[in-house]
């Protein structure tokens, strides 16, 4: 073997080990920097996709009207999302009032965001949004729509952020089933055959009386997702050796989602 080959392999090995040993925080920053760097391309690509979609739909509008329409649409969705969250919150408060006898009031501060791209990575489900740290977005913030939970921010660059979708296997959320005392952990599946992926709730009791259509709500444990957000609805329930497992249809259509809201805090 030539000495240059051995030397090259040695240098390569050292670099690989160095990358593998990098602290997770550094890798996180690297990904953040990379997405920040390509954010202009992502924005341009997203607008080209939108333009193409507009042409495909045979709709041709004046720029101003389109912008105004977009703004109104965003406002409308924001109001609907706020309303939905408040309704969920109201039911949560009512439930707590009934059960514990105390009064609680809170509301969320929502930041509207546009989905720039939906990655078609084979084993991971995530998307990028056009909001970043300069808008107040940080890692581990919940992302929702008026229909329910979308996911959580895993990487926040200055102008864009990466959102891990609820359909990803590695995102686990503590949930409760509406109208029952049941609680469990919902997560996505590693590979789903369709654009409407099934979620799975584990650690339910074997005697749980769950029926299709029952709402699945976030339980509020973990600190990322406030309680009462809709995750989806029960599709079916089965009893395994040690636990009850339910499959869930997500509330949000993750394939067509264009706008979402980041919960940046409480009002």
């Amino acid at each position: 073997m030539k000495s240059i080959t051995i030397a090259a392999f040695g240098v390569f090995g050292i670099f690989v080990v160095l990358v593998l040993l990098l602290p997770q925080q550094t890798k996180h920053q690297l990904q953040s920097a990379l997405f920040q760097w390509i954010s202009p391309i992502l924005r341009t690509g997203a607008s080209v996709q939108q333009e193409l979609g507009g042409v495909r739909g045979g709709l041709k509008r004046l720029d101003e009207l389109e912008r105004e329409n977009q703004e109104l649409k965003l406002q409308n969705e924001q109001l609907r999302a706020t309303n939905s969250l408040l309704q969920n919150l109201e039911s949560e408060v009512n439930r707590l009032n009934r059960a514990l006898g105390f009064h609680e009031k809170s509301a969320f501060k929502l930041l509207s965001a546009h989905v720039l791209s939906r990655e078609s990575a084979t084993w991971w489900n995530f998307c990028t949004i056009d909001r970043g740290t300069k808008d107040g977005v940080a890692t581990d913030m919940a992302v929702v729509t008026e229909d329910g939970v979308v996911g959580k921010v895993t990487t926040a660059a200055k102008d864009v952020a990466v959102v891990l979708l609820v359909s990803d296997e590695s995102l686990r959320i503590s949930v409760s089933i509406e109208g029952t005392p049941e609680q469990g952990i919902v997560s996505g599946t590693r590979a789903s055959s369709t654009y409407v992926p099934d979620l799975k709730i584990r650690f339910l009791s074997k005697t749980a009386n769950l029926k299709p259509g029952m709402k699945v709500l976030t339980a509020g444990a973990g600190g990322v997702f406030p309680s009462g957000l809709v995750v989806g609805s029960i599709k079916d329930f089965s009893v395994k050796e040690l636990e009850g497992v339910a499959s869930v249809t997500p509330a949000v259509d993750l394939a067509t989602i264009q706008d979402a809201f980041v919960i940046v805090g409480q009002k």
């Binding site: 240059i4 080959t5 090259a8 392999f9 240098v11 390569f12 670099f15 690989v16 990358v19 593998l20 990098l22 997770q24 925080q25 890798k27 996180h28 690297l30 990904q31 990379l34 390509i38 391309i41 992502l42 690509g45 996709q49 791209s117 939906r118 990655e119 078609s120 990575a121 084979t122 084993w123 991971w124 995530f126 990028t128 890692t139 581990d140 895993t154 990487t155 990466v162 891990l164 990803d168 296997e169 590695s170 590693r190 590979a191 789903s192 055959s193 369709t194 654009y195």
Partner: protein, 182 residues
């Protein structure tokens, strides 16, 4: 040669960005369309060994940064693993370099298809790694197509990529080939 190497780096980077906008193929159970491996395999065939390793390092690192969400704690697929995953088929392709250097379009076409056949290996290795980290291994029709599907798509893509990259390398003044083939 260095010019073409830099062009390959830029093309691999560009293909990773382009892949972000490509929807999965529903006909193949959501299989992804992958351009980067085809460009990488061409690089493995055309570049000398040290530059092949540099290309592997670049492609593997980018692959992880582009496709794996980097959650702050407990990553189940650490950044850098893909370098090792890319290295194995990359070395196989580099081993076939003498064939590539004959500079015949038929062998280039054949080698492009060999690269396409090796593409599912990348996904299979990723899947094996994930299953190991998540302590749960299962196999289904969907997973089969998620692994094999990109390879089938690459069977169509790879020859086109090869036939575009060859004139590009010539245009950039790099003409790899054995003396008798020139």
């Amino acid at each position: 040669m260095i010019l073409f190497f830099l062009a390959l780096l830029a093309l691999i980077f560009g293909s990773f960005v382009f892949q972000l906008f490509l929807p999965p193929v529903l006909l193949l159970h959501g299989a992804a369309i992958l351009f980067a491996p085809a460009i990488y395999f061409y690089g493995c065939l055309s570049m000398p060994f040290p530059l092949t390793l540099a290309l592997t390092f670049f492609t593997g690192t980018l692959s992880d940064l582009f496709t794996v969400p980097q959650a702050r704690s407990h990553p189940d697929f650490p950044t850098g693993i893909s370098i090792v995953i890319y290295l194995v088929p990359g070395l196989v392709m580099h081993g076939l370099r003498p064939l590539f250097l004959r500079n015949r379009w038929q062998t280039h076409c054949l080698l492009a298809e060999v690269g396409a056949v090796l593409t599912p290996f990348l996904l299979l290795a990723q899947y094996a790694m994930l299953s190991f980290e998540r302590n749960e291994f299962f196999f289904s029709e969907v997973i089969f197509w998620r692994i094999v599907g990109p390879g089938l798509i690459s069977l169509l893509i790879a020859p086109c990529v090869f036939f575009i990259l060859t004139p590009l390398s010539h245009a950039l003044g790099y003409r790899p080939g054995l003396p008798f083939a020139r």
